[in-house]
Amino acid sequence: MAEHALGVEIVTPEEVLFAGAANSVVTATSEGDLTVMADHAELVGDVVPGVVKIEVEGEPTIAILIHGGFLQVTTAAGAASGLVEGASETDRTTRVTILAGVAEKATDIDKGRAEAAKAAAEVKLADLRSQSGRTGDDDSTRDALLDLADAEAALARAELRLGTSAVLS
């Protein structure tokens, strides 16, 4: 019997970062922080960049850094089967799926690499901003804007990684 159990999966396009039973998941959508426990109402939402914390019975909290994504909470018969041991197709369970384009376990963050990435992104940004005054044809403007957005995103990712590893250590 595994009624009222919570199963959590955190997946990226390249791998499954976490899949299993948990007591709760703490995350944040664009409308505020969110803690999901078993029997949570059905929900579909986005996940803002930040750390998702998973509480697993008898284990230290698992922290996973998400660089933006989506989540779905399903509470139904058999929702978490396959994730929670012993949960059958008929047990009413809750499944949380978090999809992220880029995500990593907080313990896997390479601080040195993040620092280097941050420095590189800052240089790139300064460089791009100093050029932005120039006018060009539509295509080059568009490319410049895309480069700028790329550099800003890279900087945001690096800062998020550094912030997360600072909290942990």
Partner: protein, 299 residues
């Protein structure tokens, strides 16, 4: 001169065997890549499935917005076609079947008054279309063998740009689906506007409808659908790239296995011909000697 023929044959056999070594090596390399490509498809599946489920939920949450954002556009002036092939050849029909399907699609679109904008992934696409006088808007190289998600994001961005600016009304994808190790099929699908994934999972909805009471949305379903669209596009393209790479390696393995077998047959046939030629040469030589001796004795 009979001995000359033998030498020619010997050289050909040597060349066939050298080629066989190459095809055999390629076959083994391709075979080792298939397993990895397949495991990457398997690892990608939870993400793709999760994405489909979320889109279904969001579409159910706001049917009006869904109608606006999903489905087939009525009039298409310009369609973006993303075609995925390999960076290398020697892979049987893998490249050419996807390219031919694209060409047919372009012709079909043209007959409906739709202009096609081709975005090609893989080195083999450029020359094919250039030879046929078909413009290629953009080509991506270098990652068809081993696609990373960042590559898919880049392709997705380029494919979505004309759609978002209103220049194109539809984005189509021509790629090879990896159905199983034995079956791969070229398929054309619509990427944008998003296709309602319910089309293929009808029974899933029936099973759920009685249980679903009320689903919350954060943010609103309409906003969510809008945010989901680019992510879904990336996911679809990434899946297609992974399946393309698996299909490529499978085709290559098959093509190279056939080539190796052919080389074996060929070298066997050639050695038979060579042996006969050698025997003929010896026989002729003996006949000449015997004939010469006979002639001398009678003198």
């Amino acid at each position: 001169m009979a001995g000359g023929q033998e030498r020619v044959l010997r050289r050909r056999i040597k060349s066939v065997q050298a080629t066989r070594k190459i095809t055999k090596a390629m076959e083994l390399i391709a075979a080792s890549q298939i397993a990895r490509a397949q495991s990457r498809i398997a690892k990608n599946r939870p993400y793709r499935d999760g994405m489909a489920r979320i889109i279904i939920e969001a579409a159910k949450g706001d049917p009006n917005a869904a109608k606006k954002m999903l489905g087939t556009p009525e009039k298409v002036d310009v369609a973006v076609i993303v075609v995925i092939v390999g960076d290398r050849g020697l892979s049987g029909a893998y490249n050419s079947s996807a390219l031919r399907a694209t060409e047919r699609l372009v012709i079909e679109l043209k007959s409906q008054g739709t202009e096609a904008l081709i975005i090609a992934v893989g080195k083999k696409a450029g020359p094919y279309f250039r030879f046929r006088g078909q413009d290629v808007h953009q080509t991506f190289l270098g990652f068809a063998d081993r696609p990373e998600f960042a590559d898919a994001q880049e392709v997705a961005r380029e494919a979505a740009a004309p759609f978002l600016s209103g220049e194109a009304q539809q984005v189509l994808l021509v790629s090879t689906r990896f159905i199983s190790a034995a079956t791969q099929k070229v398929e054309t699908r619509q990427l944008l506007p998003l296709v309602d994934p319910r089309g293929s999972t009808e029974e899933d909805e029936d099973a759920k409808s009685e249980l679903v009471g009320y689903t919350e949305f954060e943010p609103e379903a309409e906003q969510l659908l809008e945010d989901l669209a680019p992510k879904a596009l990336e996911s679809e393209i990434f899946t297609a790239l992974l399946e393309g790479s698996a299909s490529f390696h499978t085709s290559q393995q098959r093509a190279m296995a056939a080539a190796t077998e052919n080389a074996d047959d060929l070298s066997q046939t050639l050695s038979r011909i060579m042996n006969r030629a050698r025997q003929d040469a010896i026989t002729t030589e003996i006949m000449e000697i015997v004939g010469g001796a006979e002639a001398l004795r009678q003198d």
